[in-house]
Each structure stands twice: as structure tokens, then as C-alpha cells.
């Protein structure tokens, strides 16, 4: 059962590797939008430092959002989603596998690109580690919660515009906690409470989000 799920994740990864440009587009979007703010607000370093945590997190959110539509769409259109729904492996486990592949191709590149943005905003070394830690804990939750939105809008008219509307209210806790973690580190306070809460959110999302997404997927293929 777990083997089937892992082979699904492997297949998604192989497909994503064949189209390396997709992951690259996400990272490029992330860096580009984050680079726009200093151009618009001006290069004053204290201002940039002040807005850095928020900007990094919001642009990471938007970058992940950009790639969510494609999570189930290809499988839905060529009919493999119906086969997945009929498989003996529980659909929620398969959704978890797809979310893992999605995170490896979207969330993880964003986390790896975050230090570049931190550099552009003059974020000090003491905030680096909390930033990476918070993003490592937060981005998987973004993939998981986003999977619910992607599953709900399969086959909808203008589904691409609908996914952000559905998913962003649910992203708010991750955004707030992630930005607070980096803020706390910048102010010299421990970021541990926020990181622990982010971890708690991830642990709650890991079983619950695939369940909700699987229920939504079953409605899409019925």
C-alpha cells in the first residue's frame, strides 16, 4: 500500500523532472516578485529589513498557489484519476503521495531560494536559520492545504481563479506564524514557539488534508 503510494510519488517526480521548467518557473516567480518590492518601495535598508519576513512569506505563498492547479488537473483530464480512485490503496494515501511530490518540486525549491531573497533584503544571519526552519515546516502544509483547494475546483469553470479564493483563507495561520517566527528572530526573541505551532499545523494537516482532498476528488470523478 505504501509502496503503491511511493511509486505514485516517484512517477509524479519523474514527470516533473521531464518538465524542469515548471519548477524553475515557480522559483523565478518567487524571486521576481520579491525583487519588485525594493524597486517600488525604495532601497532604504531599514524598511526592507522590516518588510522582509512578510514579503518572503507572501511571495512563497503566491508561488506555491501558482502551481497548485496542476496538482490533479493532468490526471483528471487523461482519466488516470478515476483509476487512482478505484485502486485498492486508500485515495487519501495517494493524495499524500502527490502532495509529497508537489512539495519536492515546488515547496522545496522555494525554501532553497529563500536565502537569496533574504540576501536581497539584508536579512541578518541570526534570522536565516529560523527562516529556513519555518519554511521547511510551513511549505508542506501549504502543499497539503492547497491540495484541498485543487481537488475541490477540478472541472470548475475558471477553476484557476477560484483556487486562491478558497485556499488563501486557510493559508492565513501558516502565513502569520511563519512571518512571526522570522520577526521574533530579528528582534532577538526565540522563534521556537512559532516553529512549534507551525509543526503542530503540519502534523494536523498531514492526516486531515488528504482526507478532505480525497473526498473532493471522489466527487470530481463520480
Amino acid at each position: 500500500m505504501v509502496g503503491a503510494a511511493l511509486s505514485l510519488a516517484g512517477r509524479d517526480l519523474r514527470l516533473a523532472l521531464r518538465q524542469r521548467s515548471d519548477a524553475g518557473t515557480v522559483v523565478l516567480f518567487f524571486v521576481l516578485i520579491a525583487a519588485l518590492f525594493p524597486l517600488a518601495i525604495g532601497p532604504a535598508p531599514d524598511v526592507l529589513l522590516r518588510i522582509a519576513p512578510g514579503v518572503i512569506w507572501v511571495t512563497a505563498l503566491l508561488a506555491v498557489l501558482l502551481s497548485l492547479e496542476r496538482l490533479f488537473l493532468a490526471d483528471f483530464e487523461d482519466g488516470s484519476l478515476e483509476l487512482l480512485a478505484l485502486a485498492p490503496t486508500p485515495l487519501s494515501l495517494l493524495v499524500l503521495a502527490k502532495c509529497l511530490a508537489h512539495w519536492l518540486t515546488t515547496g522545496l525549491p522555494v525554501v532553497l531560494a529563500a536565502p537569496v531573497i533574504a540576501l536581497l533584503y539584508g536579512l541578518g544571519a541570526d534570522a536565516f536559520l529560523p527562516l529556513i526552519g519555518a519554511m521547511l515546516l510551513g511549505t508542506p502544509s501549504l502543499s497539503l492545504i492547497g491540495a484541498i483547494g485543487a481537488a475541490l475546483t477540478l472541472g470548475a469553470r475558471r477553476g484557476g481563479v477560484l483556487v486562491p479564493l478558497l485556499v488563501l483563507p486557510l493559508y492565513v495561520p501558516v502565513l502569520i506564524l511563519g512571518a512571526l517566527a522570522v520577526d521574533a528572530a530579528l528582534a532577538g526573541r526565540p522563534a521556537t514557539p512559532h516553529l512549534l505551532l507551525l509543526g503542530a499545523l503540519l502534523l494536523a494537516a498531514l492526516p486531515l488534508a488528504p482526507l478532505a482532498a480525497a473526498a473532493a476528488l471522489r466527487q470530481a470523478v463520480e
Binding site: 484541498i148 475541490l152 475546483t153 472541472g155 470548475a156 469553470r157 475558471r158 477553476g159 477560484l162 479564493l165 478558497l166 488563501l168 483563507p169 486557510l170 492565513v172 478532505a212 473526498a215 473532493a216 466527487q219 470530481a220
Partner: protein
């Protein structure tokens, strides 16, 4: 569960027609009594003076925003588990009402906040989570109508409503869990209401009136959904038989 009797549209419409004059009339009475007590009889606040009277609209609207979302989540659960045909119609009909109450709560809160706090809006836990609730309502309404097949839209919206229900306890306890500018709970608390009875009674009357108003509006909207479904079915029958009649005639 005898509720499946009312899955029959005709039976439901007859029940709704019998209930509506009562719920509508009692709602008007309760709101009238509540407004009279709240605006004229209840004492002004020792700190806020007369502007505390916005509370008699703001607090019941906020209560209704949460209550209606709970109803939507409950109806969604019933629709997904027992597949009662009226349950997802009830969720579809309730959602815009809840969104309107949330909007009313946000606007009246804003109007109250300007003289009291000096700001139209603050990003504290209570206000932020109610704003998230408003977006959840709008997303629910958008998802409902996003599909060609209305049944698919209702089912997808049911899943969304259940996922978003986690926001409701967050809103309720936000004033306890976080350091908020919004005042803590004074009515639904473990130690009982801490508000003066002269202010509590108008509040409860308005809350009852708003609830009965919601029920009346819900009955009317479900009736119109059922009539719409009947019209669609009649249209389909008419269009299916028209060409045959043309060929025969």
C-alpha cells in the same frame, strides 16, 4: 430520523407556508422589542455613553455570522453523510445570509471602533478571523456556482464548508487565546454572563429576532430553489415533447 419525510418538495413547501407567517411575525416582534429596549430603555454605558447602542446590532450580527456558518457546516455534513436532498439546498440558501450578517458585523464593528478605538480597522485576532470567515463564505458561494452541474457544486461546497469550520472555534476563543483589542466574552462564558441584565435582555431579544429572520429567509430561499428545480424539470419536459408535437402536427 423522520426528517426524510420533508425531502418531498411538496410536503416541505406546505410546511414552509405554515411556518413562515409565524417566524416572520415573531421575528419582526422580537427585533422591534429589542430595538426599542436597546435604543430607548437600556442605560448608556458609563464609559462609552450612547454609542454603546451599536452593540445591539453588532453583537447579534456577529452571533448570527457564527451561527449560520455552523448551520451551513451541519447541513453540509448531513448532505455528505445521509445525502438528504434538502440539506445541500439549505447550505446553498444559508451561505449568502451568513455572508451578509458577517459583513454587517464587520461594518457595524468598524463604525463602533472609530469612536471607541480611534481606528476603522485593527489587525487583531478577532477581527482578522472574522474577516477570514467572510472570505470563507464568499469562497463557499463562488464554489457553489462554479460548476455546470449544480449538484457537483453543492457537494464540493459541502466539503469546503466542513474544512472551514475550524475557523469558528478560533473566532470564539480568539479573544481568550490572544492579546486582542476586541473585548473578551461577556455573555457566553464559563462563569455566566457578566453583562448587566438591562443590557442583556435587548441583546437576547435582537438575537432571537435575527435567528427567526434567518429561519424565515431560509424557508423562502429553499422554497425558491425547489420552485426553480421544478421549473427546470418542466422546461426539459416541454422541450423534449415540442419537436414530437411539431412532427405529429
Amino acid at each position: 430520523m423522520p426528517l426524510h419525510r420533508f425531502a418531498n418538495p411538496g410536503r416541505f413547501m406546505r410546511l414552509a407556508d405554515r411556518l413562515l407567517p409565524w417566524t416572520g411575525g415573531l421575528s419582526a416582534l422580537a427585533i422591534g422589542v429589542g430595538l426599542y429596549l436597546g435604543l430607548f430603555v437600556a442605560p448608556p454605558d458609563y464609559q462609552q455613553g450612547e454609542s454603546v447602542r451599536i452593540m445591539y446590532v453588532h453583537v447579534p450580527s456577529a452571533w448570527m455570522a457564527l451561527f449560520v456558518y455552523t448551520c451551513v457546516a451541519l447541513a453540509s455534513a448531513v448532505a455528505l453523510i445521509w445525502r438528504h436532498p434538502l440539506a445541500d439546498l439549505a447550505a446553498k440558501a444559508s451561505s449568502p445570509i451568513g455572508a451578509a450578517f458577517t459583513f454587517l458585523a464587520l461594518v457595524t464593528g468598524s463604525l463602533w471602533g472609530k469612536p471607541m478605538w480611534g481606528a476603522w480597522w485593527v489587525w487583531d485576532a478577532r477581527l482578522t478571523s472574522v474577516l477570514v470567515l467572510f472570505f470563507l463564505y464568499l469562497g463557499h458561494m463562488a464554489l457553489m456556482t462554479a460548476f455546470e452541474d449544480p449538484a457537483r457544486g453543492r457537494k464540493a461546497a459541502a466539503v469546503l464548508a466542513l474544512v472551514g469550520f475550524v475557523n469558528v472555534p478560533i473566532i470564539k476563543f480568539s479573544v481568550d487565546w490572544w492579546n486582542t483589542l476586541h473585548q473578551p466574552a461577556s455573555v457566553l462564558r464559563a462563569d455566566g454572563p457578566s453583562i448587566h441584565p438591562e443590557m442583556l435582555w435587548p441583546l437576547l431579544a435582537m438575537a432571537l429576532g435575527f435567528k427567526l429572520y434567518y429561519v424565515s429567509l431560509l424557508l423562502v430561499r429553499i422554497k425558491s430553489e425547489l420552485i426553480e428545480a421544478r421549473l427546470r424539470a418542466l422546461n426539459r419536459v416541454a422541450m423534449a415533447s415540442a419537436p414530437a408535437a411539431q412532427q405529429g402536427g
